[in-house]
Every structure is written in structure tokens, then in C-alpha cells.
Point group: C2
């Protein structure tokens, strides 16, 4: 049976029910760990389900950050240093990655609390996640405040990219199922992906092919 909800139905839902429902609607998402460093040199690590592709040329990625009405360590740190890292969550470390969402004090490193290894490179302040198969280092480029709910889209420029050679196809496509990257839907439900097919470039009146 198909259910129908209007905006008013949604607005009158119990808060957490609504959070789970509306967060599910965007469907499958990737789960990423974002690494930053605090003014006191503490390596901060936090899980985000809101990383998006912005563009390939120049290479940019974005992340939507919840309203800055309470301390947001990731946001504050990335603004201060101008750098952050985006790291794919490995399927065999999902629970530890999820644990980084706990409200730790700013003096605690989630790398240490959740068992991840900070990996540093010369000339770049923010730590990468040693356990991640795909690791991306970015510099802060711009941000946009969403008026409707005060969330902030942070856009970063890709400066450093690490990935396993075995997952890189001749076309440039990365087989993320081979990388062991996790998928997520909503706030807390994790998935693994199974490739169905890759499809040819679509043109009017031409049949799509598996390639």
C-alpha cells in the first residue's frame, strides 16, 4: 500500500520519527570521516553522511554541516586551518566510524577514542585516516548558508588524493565496492554496494549498452 504525507503531516510528526523519515528520502549516500585539527593540536574526526561532488574541473567536493548554534568542531577547525580531509569509511570499521558521532569533549581526539590512525603529510595541517582506502585532502574554498534552516554548505578544493591502484579503472572510474567503502541511508543504517553494471553514454534514439 502507498502512504501519502503532506508537508503539514510531516511538520506534525514526532521529532525523531521525522528526522529518520526525511533523512531516508535522499536514499543511498556515502559515509565519510572528516579529519581536522583543533587550535590545541587535537586531531578531530567526525562521520558525515552529507559529502557531495561539486565538480571535476577544478576538482571540488562539498559537505553540508548542521547549524552552527552549538560548537561544531569540524567546522571551526576547518575554518581556522583552511584544510580538512575526507576519508571513506571502511566496511569493517563502520561501528568505530559511527562512534565518532558521539559528543566528545574538544580535548578528546576521536582518532584515539575510536581507534583510527592519524596520518600526516608535510605542509598540510589536517590528518588523514590511515585505515581509509580513499583519502582526500582539501582546502577551504567557499561556503553557503542555507537560509531555510541555517545549515552550511562548505566547498573545498581537492589538493591531495590517495586511492588504491587496483580500484582505478582505465576510464578513471573508481570501483568503490572494491575499496570496501560503506554506504548509508538515513542516520544509522549501513549498506554494502553490489555493482549491477556500468552503462554507456546516453544519446537520443540510441540504445543504452552495458560497458
Amino acid at each position: 500500500m502507498e502512504l501519502k504525507f503532506t508537508r503539514n503531516d510531516i511538520l506534525s510528526m514526532e521529532r525523531f520519527y521525522r528526522v529518520h523519515l526525511i533523512n531516508s528520502l535522499s536514499g543511498y549516500k556515502s559515509s565519510h570521516l572528516i579529519g581536522t585539527v583543533s587550535p590545541n593540536g587535537v586531531y578531530n574526526l567526525a562521520i558525515f553522511n552529507s559529502v557531495i561532488h561539486i565538480g571535476a574541473n577544478p576538482p571540488m567536493m562539498g559537505v553540508l554541516i548542521r547549524p552552527h548554534t552549538i560548537p561544531r568542531h569540524t567546522y571551526e577547525n576547518l575554518k581556522r586551518t583552511g584544510t580538512f580531509t575526507i576519508n571513506h569509511v571502511p566496511i569493517d570499521r563502520i561501528k568505530d566510524a559511527h562512534q565518532t558521532s558521539a559528543k566528545y569533549d574538544a580535548s578528546v581526539s576521536e582518532f584515539e577514542a575510536c581507534g583510527f590512525t592519524p596520518q600526516l603529510i608535510s605542509g598540510f595541517d589536517s590528518p588523514f585516516v590511515g585505515e581509509a582506502s580513499i583519502k582526500i585532502g582539501l582546502t577551504y574554498a567557499e561556503e553557503h548558508l542555507i537560509a531555510a534552516n541555517q545549515t552550511i554548505l562548505v566547498v573545498g578544493q581537492i589538493e591531495h588524493l590517495y586511492l588504491p591502484q587496483s580500484a582505478l579503472a582505465p576510464s578513471g572510474h573508481v570501483d568503490i565496492d572494491q575499496c570496501g567503502s560503506a554506504a548509508v541511508c538515513g542516520l544509522d543504517t549501513y549498506y554494502e554496494g553490489k555493482q549491477i553494471f556500468r552503462l554507456s553514454y546516453a544519446r537520443p534514439n540510441e540504445e543504452i549498452r552495458e560497458i
Copy 2:
């Protein structure tokens, strides 16, 4: 073996290689069909891999649209009517959904060309996709121009939501693997998701549980 690329390495890559590589880095994404209506009453349908969750209260979703340097029917239509629909791509119709990305003339309805059924409701201009298990009707709320590459983040307010009752968990979470929704990575590689587990809310010094 781990490969390393710097920003300059990426900028000097062949164009399509770079497009595939950088588009893969955000990992698993959901694939959605966006429905709009043209000034001449043609039902437009286009696949997007860039739909994101914006917030639950008020309920909002967004979509990142490529630069408006060539005609972008979806963008032009949604600006004109102030409405658009977001519909999950059913796994058994991925090839038809992918085909909507072909550059059809504005006089052609991709619903018709690709075999989808426009579903209309009273008082809402844009068509839903009859074949989709999850269908969302939105009104235009705001937009943000990304300075770095002229892409546009369009934010919409959820007005109407249709989903199968069987997929709605008591928590409000939607089991999208039960909905038969497709996942995608990059531009053209499609996946199905297999649920691993749902995890408890994380708190410092408390063990994460499967729930």
C-alpha cells in the same frame, strides 16, 4: 599499491578521465529522476546523481545543477513553475532512467521517450514518476551559486511524499533496499544496496549496538 595525485596531477588529466575519477570520490549516491513541466506543457524527466538531504524540520531537499551555460530544462522549468518532483530510480528500470540523460530536444517528453508514466496530482504542476516507489513533490525555496564552478544548489521544500507502507520502519526509517531503489557511483556505474546493520545512537564511553 596506493596511488597519490596532487591538484596539479588532476588538473593535467585528460578531461573525461578526470570527470570519472573525481565524480567517483564522493562514493555511493542515490540516483533520482526529477520531473518538471515545460512552458509548452511537455513533461520533462532527467536523471540526477546529486540530490542531497538538507533538513528534516522544515523538510527540505536539494539538488546540485550543472552550470547554466547551456539550456538546462529541469532548472528552467522548476524556476518557472516553482515546483519539481524527486523520484527514486527503480533497479529494474535503471537503463530507461539513464536514457533520460540523453540530450533530447525540449519538445520531447523523456517520460514518453524512455517509457515512464507521468502521474499528476491536483494543484501541483510537476509530474511524478508512476513507476517510482518513493516520490517527492517540492516547491522551490532558494538557490546558491557555487562561485568556484558556477554550479547551482537548488533547495526545495517537501510538500508531498509518497512511499510504500511496507518499507516504513516504526522509527520512521525507510528501508530503501526494500523499495528497490538504485545506487550509483560516478556518472554511470549502478549498484544495489545490501543492508549490513542499523546502529544505536553513539555516546562517549558507551558501546555501539546493532538495533
